[in-house]
Symmetry: C2
């Protein structure tokens, strides 16, 4: 289970660097193949070492997986808490959507890693979802509720709105083969620009306070 606070410290700088390079390689492999289909051999190869060396730094496959999840979660959470209650609601939400979409574009492996984990029933991060993640969503939902109470946003269920934003932004990373098949071989940058425009147009217009 995750969320035990800080990880145990590495002994040396070199060991830490080595672990980091293994985690980076493991992210690629786990996110493409899922846990079961990922092999230590492929991770080791991607990290440029032998399988036995990998197992010198980690006690086993699951430990590598947990390390990757912990490492990626920290990064993934950063922008989640960024809604500013004092800001203009449509601007704040627009920035949130844009930020999440950018994360999908720049770090698709991270997005797919979580998609795989949650599709499998979230065996490793279930506790995190029910704890820290739920708390964060509750906090953001309260901000959105405040905006609605002030009449600065259309009255919608804040939690489902957050889910809606996650869904549409992560979709472009998680289901990329489908997106590419349907849209054709546009360059990724262009595709994401068109996605951003559409998402913002529909969401911001749909959330404008009714008058």
């Amino acid at each position: 289970m995750l969320g035990h606070g800080g990880s145990e410290p590495r002994r040396t700088r070199i060991q830490a660097a080595k672990r980091a390079s293994i985690v980076k390689a493991a992210l690629e492999v786990f996110s493409e193949a899922g846990y079961s289909a990922a092999t230590l051999e492929r991770i080791a190869e991607a990290a440029g070492i032998s399988k036995a060396s990998l197992l010198y730094y980690f006690p086993g496959k699951e430990a590598v997986y947990v390390a990757v999840l912990e490492d990626t979660l920290a990064f993934w959470l950063e922008p989640l808490a960024a809604l500013d209650p004092a800001g203009e609601p449509l601007e704040e939400i627009g920035r949130y959507v844009t930020t999440k979409l950018e994360m999908s574009r720049k770090r698709p492996a991270a997005s797919r890693l979580f998609a795989n984990e949650i599709l499998a029933g979230a065996p490793a991060i279930g506790g995190f979802l029910k704890g820290p993640l739920k708390e964060l969503v509750d906090k953001e939902a309260a901000v959105i509720s405040g905006w609605i109470a002030e009449g600065r946003l259309a009255p919608v269920d804040p939690r489902h709105l957050i889910m809606m934003i996650w869904a549409v932004t992560q979709h472009y990373a998680d289901f990329d083969p489908q997106v590419q098949a349907v849209l054709g071989r546009e360059a990724a940058k262009r595709r994401f620009a068109a996605a951003r425009e559409t998402l913002l147009a529909v969401l911001l217009e749909g959330l404008r306070p009714r008058g």
Copy 2:
């Protein structure tokens, strides 16, 4: 690869029924575990037969998987082509969203099966995505474009709008553990009703022709 037209006919009614029961069991196992983590042992157990018996009806694991995909695709496609160009655009889109959401609620295993397959890079249904699915999207996109040209719908990219609708509806089936963790233990029916309300409110208001 899929899409070779009709499958070879089964010899007897009994064989067909047996195959169907295996496919049904296999859908559950593949959709929960993904291809690699799914085992023939578990599928056989779910179907109430032995592993060897299963392999009497199918030549191997991959053949079972392909049969499940074919079987599920047929069902999945039905409502996809339902947009009526002569109808009221917001009503048509509202019905489409509601239908897709209902499918996520009633057949979450089917949704997760495709999610797993596409996350893995769509090795088995890549051709289907680039062929029949793309054609269907193009056709629907043309209908939406027509509505926009007539000024009956806000001007947005039709393909990204379709993707948006897929994303928000499938999300509730594919990422159910996360949804439940964040929303708490509401009954599924209630959860989907709240989701429908939120999605329709935002999407339909966001797509209303500017004026």
